[in-house]
């Protein structure tokens, strides 16, 4: 397949392909981070994760419409405000859901799977009734479209660079919050021993609510960012949920580093295989590899060392 090409051509294709892998990596990290916090730290299997992402996407769509109507001069910057709003709206809904639904189920983690799955169906139908069954098109400011020409033959998509930057930023903030801040210590304490954490004066209910809200808020930001690369419709969230769980479970549920490592290995395997075989074949081989590794290491790539 490479016989007819010059070294220069091949070189630039490999650079672009490497970049494609990095973009996929960022996308995976971004969509898995929120779930990693909720599933990893709280043990809640949040099947409605995709719907929280799409809520962020719809918020972005509404912000974009509002700016077009009322503030067309500031349109080029609306995306930053949209992401902030997406975080707040999804996070607020997450906290509400935690208060109404999830907090009653901490002792029955498997039931959270059913409850949040039901929630995802309810949210989907709500979006359909409110925004219509058809997909909506989110209009982006001109500067976010198109690609950067690095050299004559190497082109890098701007939205990919944007997603990568955003991913790095959010990952840094989240790991700082979880591992350096006082609140993060409380979260980890509650995860390790809820009763003792309560006994030393941590308000576990409040910690739970904010943790869930943070996870959902990050999902909202991810959804907002993905309006650049994917579709926004009532059921679009379903497109992400499988990959998201794959990344989190493969990485080892309780570890942020594991999530990142797993996103990296899955995305690189997938994008390399996609290039050398075909789209469906790449998916099959990637999933086979994941299944194989999980059979050898059921706890995932990285697991917390806990004395049982």
């Amino acid at each position: 397949m490479f016989g007819d090409y010059s070294i220069g051509d091949l070189g630039s294709i490999f650079v672009m392909q490497g970049f494609a892998g990095l973009i996929l990596f960022s996308v995976y990290v971004l969509m898995a981070l929120g779930l990693a916090i909720i599933f990893g730290q709280m043990g809640v299997i949040n099947m409605a994760h995709g719907e929280f992402m799409i809520l962020g996407a719809y918020v972005t769509w509404m912000t974009s419409n509002a700016f077009q109507h009322y503030l067309p001069s500031l349109f080029s910057g609306y995306f930053f405000l949209a992401m902030l709003l997406a975080f707040l709206v999804s996070g607020a809904l997450g906290m509400l859901v935690e208060w109404v639904l999830i907090r009653h189920l901490y002792k029955r983690p498997l039931d959270t799977l059913l409850a949040t799955w039901g929630l995802s169906l309810i949210l989907q139908q709500t979006y359909r009734s409110v925004f219509g069954a058809r997909e909506v098109g989110v209009e982006l400011p001109q500067w976010m479209l198109g690609s950067l020409k690095v050299t004559d033959s190497i082109e890098v998509p701007i939205n990919g660079v944007f997603v990568m930057g955003l991913t790095v930023l959010i990952t840094v903030v989240v790991s700082y919050v979880l591992y350096k801040s006082r609140w993060g210590r409380q979260v980890r304490a509650v995860v390790q021993n809820r009763i003792m954490a309560g006994a030393v004066g941590i308000n576990t209910e409040k910690v739970d609510r904010y943790t869930f809200g943070l996870g959902c808020g990050i999902a909202g930001v991810a959804g907002s960012a993905f309006t650049m690369i994917g579709s926004t419709g009532p059921t679009s969230g379903q497109l992400y949920i499988v990959d998201t769980f794959l990344v989190v479970v493969f990485g080892g549920a309780a570890s942020l580093l594991g999530t990142i490592a797993s996103a990296f290995s899955i995305s690189q395997t997938q994008s390399t295989l996609e290039f050398f075989t075909s789209g469906s074949m790449a998916k099959v081989l990637t999933l086979l590899a994941v299944v194989g590794i999980l059979m050898l290491r059921p706890q995932g790539l990285f697991a917390l060392k806990v004395r049982k």
């Binding site: 494609a20 996929l24 909506v136 990919g160 579709s231 419709g233 290039f275 789209g279 469906s280």
Partner: protein, 419 residues
């Protein structure tokens, strides 16, 4: 106890007022045709369908919920519009059409179950419905067992023909071959890159396209790729496209993947005004989600575009928008769905009967001159003769008509040499 009689008076009165209020919009818009002047029910309905002296019941069976609602909403709207217009024009054999709408919920067994309910319990005279091939395949045995009549609107892969189905969309050869011929001639295209979603319709369509490219156009297929339904990452295949530099990218990606594909294509710097792209899966409906700026310049090959400049379409589009809102768009399948009730009405009137067997026999040769796409006629094989057109996507999400075949193309669901 004492105010019991009072309540007894109030309640029916209130109900009547409510009924009156509910009927008001219809009454005020439509001139009231008088129904019940048609031929006697016993002569036009010998098999016990839901036909009375004044009414006839049909079924509408689409997904109003679930992932397919995105696509099927337009079909439901078109069918309701057609039924309303037929009623305003006096109905079918002097009978007003009443419809029962069922929700297939994007789930194929549900489609089969609801089809059975419509045929067995409601005894509907015809069903307008289904969208995906999977839902049609699920409904087909039910239609054949209980002898119903289905009007199916979607362009599809062919390889099927049934007494109990009228296919108002194009089958694959009808849709694809003319488009490929055009782009080969117009752009001198020799090399093609196929990319599709991974299920029966894109795979069958691409098989037909590949045979045509290789055997008839003497060109080359430099890549053929499929991505799982719902896939959102296309950067690798876009790199492959850049590497192989095909003259034409030929796509049948569907659903949410479509949006991701075109957004990423644009972001990767592929300029569709220079790189020819021919799609058979993007209608005006899909562009709503993709965004005109991401797909402007691409060519689409199908039988109908909202922008078609003919007298029928000029009355159809405003009527549709008046009923469903100024912002709605009309894609190929929506138009094909609109044909269903009309073709059924014309066939019933030709046969002089609602009986399924008589309709099935009378279908061949029925022509609909007021079709928004121009003119259609039902073929012996229950598909439609129709023209194929190529349009070019514009920034505003509409297509500009670039080419149309001079004659109607014969439907050929079992194409020889293409299997």
């Amino acid at each position: 106890m004492s105010d019991e009689p009072n309540r007894g008076l109030q309640s029916p009165l209130r109900r009547k007022l409510l009924m009156g209020a509910a009927a008001l919009p219809l009454v005020s818009i439509l001139p009231r045709p008088s129904f019940g002047a048609g031929p006697a029910t016993a002569t036009v309905n010998t098999t016990g369908l839901a036909v009375t002296d004044t009414e006839v019941t049909v079924g509408i069976l689409h997904s109003a919920t679930g992932t397919m609602a995105i696509s099927e909403t337009g079909s439901i709207q078109a069918e309701k519009l057609a039924i309303e217009q037929i009623n305003a024009a006096g109905g079918v054999l002097g009978r007003k059409i009443k419809f029962i709408q069922e929700d297939g919920a994007s789930d194929w067994p549900t489609f089969a179950e609801k089809a059975k309910k419509l045929l067995v319990n409601d005894k509907v005279a015809a069903i307008m419905g289904c969208w995906t091939s999977a839902s049609r395949k699920a409904v087909l045995p039910v239609m054949e067992q209980y002898n119903g009549m289905l009007y199916y609107p979607t362009f599809y892969e062919g390889l099927e023909q049934s007494k109990n189905v009228i296919y108002t969309g194009q089958e694959a050869t009808q849709q694809i071959l003319a488009g490929l011929n055009w782009i080969a001639k117009e752009k001198g295209a020799k090399s093609f890159f196929f990319i599709g979603s991974d299920y029966i319709w894109p795979r069958t369509s691409n098989k037909i396209a590949r045979k045509h490219v290789e055997n008839v156009l003497k060109g080359k297929v430099v890549g053929e790729e499929y991505y799982a339904l719902g896939s959102t990452q296309f950067n690798s295949v876009i790199n492959k496209i850049k590497l192989t530099k095909p003259d034409v990218i030929f796509t049948d990606v569907v659903g949410g993947s479509n949006v991701a594909f075109y957004k990423q294509l644009k972001a990767a710097g592929v300029d569709l005004s220079k790189q020819a792209l021919l799609t058979i899966s993007v209608t005006e409906d899909e562009i709503d989600g993709i965004g005109g700026e991401n797909i402007a310049g691409a060519y689409a090959c199908m039988k109908y575009f909202q922008s078609l400049d003919n007298a029928n379409n000029k009355t159809f589009v405003p009527a549709f928008k008046k009923l469903w809102g100024e912002k709605t768009v009309i894609g190929d399948v929506t138009q094909a769905a609109y044909l269903g009730p009309w073709l059924w009405k014309l066939t019933v009137e030709k046969a002089g009967s609602f009986d399924i067997d008589k309709i099935a026999a009378a279908s061949a040769g029925v022509e609909f001159k007021d079709a928004p796409e121009g003119y259609v006629r039902i073929h012996q094989n229950h598909h439609l003769w129709s023209k194929t057109r190529v349009g070019r996507a514009k920034l505003d999400g509409q297509f500009e008509l670039i080419f149309e075949t001079a004659d109607l193309i014969e439907p050929d669901p079992f194409p020889k040499g293409y299997q």
